[in-house]
Amino acid sequence: MARIAVQAAPFDLAAESAALVAGRTDLGGIASFVGVCRADDGVAALVLEHYPGMTERALAGIAAEAARRWPLAGCTIIHRVGRMAPGDPIVLVLTASAHRAAALEACAFLMDWLKTRAPFWKREELADGSERWVEARHEDEAATARW
């Protein structure tokens, strides 16, 4: 039911959204979240690394968990890897359901779980040429725990 992709290329929000609803008249709403590379503290670029194989399994597992909890008609998770500049989109989550609350809640759930349960790691390249690994945030653990 879920479309899962891990890719270097940008994604197309409109095309992904259209694919999710194509030919259906039983949907009440489509929720989406696009995570964007933010230019914190002189960050020049972000490099996303992942664990090929496990990533896709983990994302599919998270999507299956969302489908168990909410009546979803469809769901799409696309996560980019590689080098990204500030302003670049990094991750897309789309959920479709007959009911808006299901779509919106599942979208928030997928982002929270993805943040703490999918094997991606971010390295920041700074304007001065140095680099640093992004540290996991306690807020993300708390956000995962609320579901």
Binding site: R57, A58, A136
Partner: protein, 83 residues
Amino acid sequence: MKVLYFAWVRQKVGLAEEVVQPPAEVRDVAGLVAWLSARSPGHAAAFAHPGQVRAAVNQEFAGADAAVAGQDEVAFFPPVTGG
């Protein structure tokens, strides 16, 4: 046994992956960490603070007491930071 390293764990170990044959007494993730730590100063540095390193066995997150054996794929990495 195939062992994979990611992010700064990979950088400290100096390898993205290696195939190892730990002795029979290495039965779980904690035992494997102790055994790997003795392989090189890089390994020792990567595992110097075990609380900062997470593990997966056969592509599922696993705790320190998770069993490892034979043909398992075991990965070590920092807490994840995607999204």
